[in-house]
Symmetry: C2
Subunit: 370 residues, 2 copies
């Protein structure tokens, strides 16, 4: 392969497949609906389609992108709980019927689409094990279930199912455990209103290796399957089970390669990279730090990693790295998710080009491609 | 004009011209070098070119964009203090010779380009009046002037000039006043090393109306011109004076129109808009709040304004707005800068389309275009 200009995001085809299969093994009865917001590259979608994956979307544009790639509407869910009336209608026209909601206000928009639409209630669950807690913006808590279910009862809107999200990069099993207890509680309450949910969507949140201890898909699956068995004993067997991994599928399959552009040794030492907050590393402003590999050698030095733009926000994080000099390469691991999709062209700096490899045996080998 | 779909960024041609002319009146001997990072739409560049404006850039891509639009290289400055060796060379090949630096490390890259290059030292100045302090990432403090000037003396690198930046949206005159005292001090120190700076670039930072009291261009100009007169009395008359407004030119000329997509009344009330952090309102995560106008009426309600994506980061700010319902329009004023340029396509939601109007007499009139 010819040498690649940085920044470049190397993606590993076989790792995508392995991640998919590992999750399928951990959660056999589940439909895996890949969250394309984490990385929507057509090649990734192609690989997953062949594996039998379904897809999670948040917008009409995402739905139409998938349709253009040959994904069938019944293989998609629209899990954005708040949508414009136009988006709801266009998604339904395309045949995407499973749609989330978390408020009476959203049900008012759903009403005219009964029985075509399959409304799935997004509930609030604890997000404390997650790096990016989602609660607040989305989800109905128990206080709100009553007015929501009452509205559904009165207006004859069926409750197709219940969904939750333990938060992105959820690093504790407890996230799923408590969420599933709450889900059961919600099922019970809904039944008091004559509703009969049969779809359970456990959202995403499965973590990738960012240098801390994380639960494996197998461990998460064990907890989830235990709840399913308990529910079955109580006479409840969901007819549609969905999980929506994003980062888990695409994150570990990507290695972002960047180069040091310049160094300024001042009160602090600043290492300027050719990739920054606006060109892929947006999650760093929210606290993510990636495992890194370095082409440089020499004594380690504490530096602030920052991007190439003139913007003060374009600053990643402090790290100890081998004495940096212009031209040194840095590989950011577990960077296949939520990087390229956030890139803008601010200040004329472009985000990483995506380059697909059959397999990345050892990330260190990638230095030879730069 | 036909009705516009939201989100849309209405830009006012005459306001661009007025802003340019007002600044030219406030700083007559200065070259105005518009910072295209704030809004790089070709129409804006066209208008400013006709007014006689020059341009500030941070990357080769920005330089090449301007060249393609017919801007001459001598009408550009490259004010990014840290660049790759390739970027420095390509800018010089294009004829852009005024280039900033703030470290010995950058001078090492400049060395081979003497005498073609015109090195301008970026110094650190207080940024406390600014909403986005820039210090830290950029600028040499007095401690660093000595090794920098010594390096220039030994390697026969001329010091073309001195530059500073009071920080974006600088809302106090004191920002410029103290910066100019520091600039004078730097001139004196550089002379001790046999250097002879003749270019003074006062950067950007001129503020727009975000609902607080701000100094006018005229007031900033008064302070700057006072320093120039004092310098002249001491026998120093710069031969090249540059100012680099971005937000000041493009910010007040833009009105961002968005619609409420959905409302969720929970512990807090969330108003979901069709424009969010990833589709133009990136600066809100850093604390900006825009003056707003509403199509909705009714009693005001405290809400959290958030964007349409499924991302928890996609959350703007709390505000009291008329009882929101889907379809309500909100106009964000002073939104022509640092909005469209930050937009990505995350989650399939597109940033605002830019629509140019000859003049926006009263922003309220824009509701009729939605």
């Amino acid at each position: 392969m010819e040498k690649q200009e940085t920044p470049v995001l190397f993606m590993d085809r076989s790792r995508i497949r392995e991640n998919y299969r590992e999750l399928k093994k951990a959660l056999p009865p589940f439909r895996i609906a890949y969250a394309i917001k984490s990385n929507s590259h057509p090649e990734l979608i192609e690989i997953l389609k062949k594996e039998g994956s379904h897809f999670e979307t948040a917008s009409v544009a995402e739905i139409e992108k998938l349709l253009a790639l040959g994904v069938k509407p019944e293989e998609m869910v629209l899990s954005n709980p708040v949508k414009s009336p136009q988006a709801i209608r266009r998604a339904l026209d395309h045949g995407v019927v499973i749609q989330s909601f978390d408020s009476v206000e959203e049900l008012e928009k759903f009403k005219e689409h009964v029985p075509k639409i399959r409304p799935v209630l997004r509930i609030v669950v604890p997000n404390e094990g997650s790096m990016w807690p989602l609660s607040g913006k989305f989800g109905a808590d128990e206080e709100l279930w009553h007015p929501i279910f009452e509205y559904m009862r009165v207006h004859h809107i069926p409750l197709d199912g219940i969904t939750f999200h333990p938060g992105s990069q959820c690093e504790t099993i407890a996230g799923w455990d408590s969420a599933l207890y709450l889900t059961w509680r919600c099922i019970e309450v809904s039944r008091e209103f004559g509703l009969n949910p049969t779809t359970i969507n456990i959202g995403g949140g499965l973590p990738v290796d960012l240098g801390r201890k994380i639960p494996s898909a197998q461990k998460v699956g064990k907890v989830v399957m235990r709840h399913l068995r308990e529910w079955e004993k109580k006479g409840f067997k969901p007819t549609d089970l969905i999980v929506e991994p994003g980062r888990y599928i695409s994150g570990s399959a990507g290695v972002l390669a960047s180069r040091v552009v310049g160094v300024a040794r001042r009160e602090k030492t600043w290492a300027f990279l050719d990739c920054g907050v606006f060109t892929g590393m947006m999650e760093t402003i929210d606290g993510i730090t990636y495992p890194m590999l370095f082409s440089g050698t020499g004594e380690k030095e504490r530096v602030i990693l920052c991007g190439p733009s003139c913007d003060s926000v374009d600053k990643m994080y402090e790290a100890k790295i081998p004495h940096p000099k212009p031209g040194d390469a840095i590989l950011f691991l577990s960077a296949g998710a939520y990087t390229s999709v956030y890139a803008s062209e601010f200040n004329g700096f472009l985000g990483p080009k995506m380059v697909w490899l059959d397999t990345i045996k050892d990330p260190k080998d990638l230095f030879a491609l730069l």
